[in-house]
Symmetry: C5
Subunit: 355 residues, 5 copies
């Protein structure tokens, strides 16, 4: 998948920096824009039909959350960017979905990029890039397509639950990011479950040849999740240290809270990573143990019957003068000898704990 991502990047190579080009897969999505415009007393929720309708919300006294879905509509996004006086590189990054989580601090707005992780129906991890522009009294959010983890945020704004309606745009950005980080917990919990399942399977020997493949896939997934989440710590850190009107002092405590959650997530990821690395070793010892079993069976069978066969071979020889052949009870005595040898062998292997 790294392959895919870089290919997307390559769509742009050779172009002038600042060229605004959508680099994702979802090029047939509709443009979906919703706006929440609220203060302590009221809350307007609206779906917009053209990007131009969003322009007015820049200047309202209320806090506005303008949520744009559909990064393939680059023209609309470019027009919006120009209206909100965004730097050309910001507009370029908005639609270039291979960004690493980062924050760019401009004079009158902050530009934050991060990854929204969520599980689809088959428990596969999905990655979607979400960008935020935090202005004095608005937050713009940009997603590739509809569908997100912000359901509870919408609910809280509508119903005025919690503090959100009494706070500024920096608090709005906080609850949006908090919703994303909360989802990280589910994702890594699922990864953890998969690792533990795999561990159990290896112990019980239920998977065989494909084990290395499954381990390798899990390893890659963990590395990818890690790469999507780790840089966010630095982003939050920068927000906490940001010195301007955009982030108020009292809100920083909340960002500190996200930071603590992120540390927890990343610590878990690193523990899972260590676990996966040792899975391969575990699998290796499992294989070796099995081979040991196989070898023991072979050795026991061969060690018991090869000498007996030799003895039988002796008396199958056609020499004229073999005195034992003519003795009447030879055959029965031989059986006795063989049975004694057989039992002796069994005892020997029992003592060595091979049986």
């Amino acid at each position: 998948m790294a392959k895919k991502r870089t290919k997307k990047h390559n769509k742009k190579s050779g172009l002038a920096p600042g060229s605004v080009i959508y680099t994702g897969d979802k090029s047939d999505k509709n443009l979906f824009i919703e706006v929440f415009d609220y203060n302590k007393d009221q809350c307007i929720e609206k779906e917009l039909h053209s990007i131009e309708e969003a322009f007015d919300f820049k200047l309202t006294d209320c806090v506005s959350w303008i949520n744009i879905n559909g990064l393939n509509h680059v023209d609309a996004i470019e027009r919006l960017g120009t209206h909100f006086s965004l730097h050309p590189l910001v507009i370029e990054d908005l639609v270039s979905i291979s960004q690493r989580p980062k924050i760019d601090e401009y004079e009158d707005y902050l530009f934050v990029v991060l990854k929204m992780l969520y599980l689809d129906a088959e428990e596969k991890v999905n990655y979607e890039q979400v960008s935020f522009i935090l202005g004095p009294n608005y937050v713009l959010s940009f997603q590739e397509s509809e569908g997100d983890v912000f359901g509870s945020v919408r609910e809280r704004i509508r119903l005025g639950k919690g503090r959100v309606r009494t706070m500024q745009s920096d608090y709005l950005l906080y609850i949006l990011m908090d919703a994303i980080v909360d989802e990280y917990f589910s994702v890594i919990e699922t990864l953890g479950d998969k690792i533990e399942d795999l561990e159990t399977d290896i112990f019980e020997g239920s998977i065989e040849e494909s084990a290395t493949k499954v381990i390798q896939e899990l390893k890659k997934e963990v590395l990818k999740v890690r790469r999507s989440i780790f840089p966010l710590r630095e982003v939050i850190n920068r927000i906490e240290k940001h010195e301007s009107e955009l982030i108020q002092q009292r809100t920083k405590t909340y960002y500190r809270d996200i930071y603590d959650h992120l540390i927890q997530v990343t610590e878990n990821i690193d523990i899972y990573r260590e676990m996966i690395w040792s899975l391969m070793d575990m699998y290796m010892t499992t294989i070796s143990n099995k081979m040991n079993e196989v070898m023991k069976v072979l050795t026991i069978m061969a060690s018991i019957f090869i000498p007996l066969t030799f003895i039988a071979g002796i008396y199958g020889m056609n020499f004229e003068y073999i005195p034992e052949l003519h003795y009447k009870y030879s055959y029965f005595i031989l059986w006795g000898v063989m049975i004694v040898l057989f039992i002796g062998m069994l005892i020997y292997f029992k003592r060595r704990k091979w049986l």
Copy 2:
């Protein structure tokens, strides 16, 4: 277990930040509140029946230790928090038991979260979250349930042993944290014993197939203990550097002492961690050595008897003209040849040190 923890976290996803919800398992515990209120001259020890009784202790001249057990009683804790003017996020964190050890510095109190580790009857490590609020002349402590490592602290306050009765609340917090850190030593000592036992078992070959499982379990335990203890170093460090009336200069020497203990604990943990990693390698060589043994037995048996059987086979053939068959001493000569071969083989294997 990481799974469990994150599940607890998820109880909260989708809720407004600041929602005060207990995230632990122990939801049927009674609320148990005890208070120690003391100065140089006197010491009052009391069990409270409602949270409201604790409110008055905020203002006494004496140092007060209010110990609240039962985080499932969120209402009571919320009322207490409001009375003591705690930040909403602090109240939220108090009852959310998946916290990482941390310190939050507020204007007139410190909020410290850490993990109390202790061994249960089966020598399993138990983790319980303990939070402290350090105010000008009080310490609030919050535990999930009754039962803790503070027995000696209570004794010392009651009897006025040591310096505790002549010092302020910062010293009280110190002896509480010191009691917790002291317990860490027992816990990691037990872990160390388990590792050494496992090591011995592997050397002596007493455990077999389950070894990887036991190693993996120990690895996880060490990683979990590590995660519970490591961040505490940063917490103590922050207390030492804290600049306010809450932590007096003369007490900082004592916190430095805890810090030194913590460094010792964490160094031990890291050594155990390295030990465990090499256990898997050791186990692997043990397996290989065993397979070598098995292979040698097989090779010796096969190498000795296969050629002898071949010779017996030769004289079992039914050709009409095999001159040896008719010679009188053939059979005995053949036995001689076989015995010589047999002994020769034994000498050969002896020389190669396979016997």
Copy 3:
């Protein structure tokens, strides 16, 4: 190849520092010089026939890009360097192709060295050293030979696309470096593909003995690419922090953008590196699994037929008194016994999941 590089270096050992000697392979290349001299209104593009023609461009008001190909022409480069008042060590470094990416800040120019990576027809990674001198209104670039990744840059200057014609020389340097960094994505993407192909081959068992060799080669390639790219981050960082007229404040945002790309590239490289390291482990388990298969076949064959052969051997003995030999149905009964044994064995191995 490290060998080759150091050998190149050795060409110089024993010489006075500052000796200007070309250390590369391509000693028969022509000197090819091209100039772009442009401002907002016009753009002159010219191929020069002697290095002296380039001297005048130092003083034009326009921004000049002088691109020199053919580092073997040390005399010409030395003359150019002297005319542009370059430090002797800079001139030495220009033609010494074993440089690490670095930046040297002089009073009135910056000297930047980096590696241009591109893939040749066989998808092999090629490394070419490119040096830049950034002066107040000119950029000198030095390459070993013609052929580069600057095609799109030329196009943009010619046609006045993007901002380039309205910006200063620092922006020109930026788009040149951006073109190089963009190419890194293709290179590491190809490396990533090779690693994934190898992974698939190992899983499917299509490559055998040579696998370690291929893995080792890939490992070396990744380490070499890493070494060529990693130091560049520090270079860009230093440009961003550079305090002089040469780098304007508004251009720094653009360098920040390159920096972000570099972080992405280097993160990918590190993930690939981890992947390669685990490939060897994967290959090892694959081998062990195969050996297990081989052993099982041997054990099954031997365990089934060795006892049966023993039984046949018994009745091949020539004792005079073996009662069974004379019983009429002995032979058929024996067949029955053998078939029962055979089937019993099969069931046993089936149960152990060896079949």
Copy 4:
């Protein structure tokens, strides 16, 4: 042994911090106190019979070295500590032998704890804690028991060799610590010898099953030595940066010298550590090589004789019509065929380099 150490620690759990309790094993040692009191012109050397005799040396104009052996005599040490105005925690740490090397800076004295390492008769590493109190004109040293590495220091003071008699107490502390660090070299040299011996043994195959055990023991020893020595670097560093009358500027050069020695020691330790880690891999390949040898012998024997035995079996069959049986030279021809097969096999295995 980590176990033992923590057990010692636990002797104290539950006690008030500051409780002065000896945590070591050597509880039956006599108290042995010696004093050196010297200046440029004279030197008094004395053995004291009670701790109180030492009190006067605090105020003499000469430099005094008071060396106390026998940490089990806690009362005496407590009285001494009180007389020299030591902080309660310092007195506690003096007799608690599980300290990590550390320095505590107090207003008018420095408290330094480190580990004295020396080899006993069986070349085992012994660890003894040594604490120093550096005052304006005295050094107090505390050891568990008599016997140390300070012989040369005493000699130098007595005879006035070197600079010691003309320098202050900070120089005395330096030569004491220097004597300890010098001994580290012998200790790690011996560890290095053990590692190289083990390496040779593994190469030559002289040790077998116990190799993992020996490797693991060495690993632990190296880790323990490392832990005893590493923190000392920080201690020396702090002394060098210490700003007070206690450490004079001209003495710091000497501490720098100890620091350089310590870096050498720790670098060697880290190299030994890496060596040990690779020993296990080496041992593993040795085992695998041996198994290869065993397998080759088995395969050669089986591959040669199994087909020959088959041929003999063919002509041991009792079919009535086997034409070859009646031909006169069959037996001899068969021998020829078998010998050809045998030699062919040998050549084949020779070519594969198995012989």
Copy 5:
């Protein structure tokens, strides 16, 4: 060899710090002193017969390079040191050859210690300690014995090539150190070649049992070279940041150049280190692959002939009633059956790709 080094150190343990004692092996070397005294206009080159003759060069206006070979002549070196007012510890370090590369900055001179590495005739790495004293207009260099890498430096001073004759003593020190660092490239190049040769040998299976030994030796050599070179980076760094008349601003650019070379050297060393670590893994897979081959041969032989031998055994039985024995074509039919079985087996193994 670490052993040897520490033994040397131990020669000194128990001695007063500052004791000037030669710790190397070469105690029978002659004292060889040469002087270069030069300025722009002239150059005197002289071999001195006693150390006292060197004293005058301290005060000449010219730049003087006094090169002393033969550290066993400690008296002479001590007299020289005293004349040049060197600190006692410096004189001690000059003749103690187990120093780590370091720089000590004194008020009117710099003391630099580093390791000269060069290859002897058998391509073994030789280590010789070289110390420099950089004074206002002189450089003292100290070597254990004659023979060094300074040939080109002498030539350049004699002939006035390059800038050396017009520069101060700091530039002289630079070209001396540059000569040493240039030699590092040859040394690590040779190490690199050895590693690649070993790699090829392992791939081709040409070395066998001794491979681990060779790998381990190489690993040690790389670690030793690394330890000799790494600390030098810090030394050069300190020279660059040194603030005094001794190092002129314009010379620092040159030291920067050495620094860049050192980074290149150390990066190569680290890559070689990683390569060596993976050699052991490679060797392990090679062994396993070989064992697989051996096992396949055994399994094929056994699987084919054991069943056939069983069949032959059946008809070797002496039952009176075996109907097949009397049927005329039985023997030939049996051969047919056996050949079919044989071919079937071959096809089976072909399909499994074992043949």
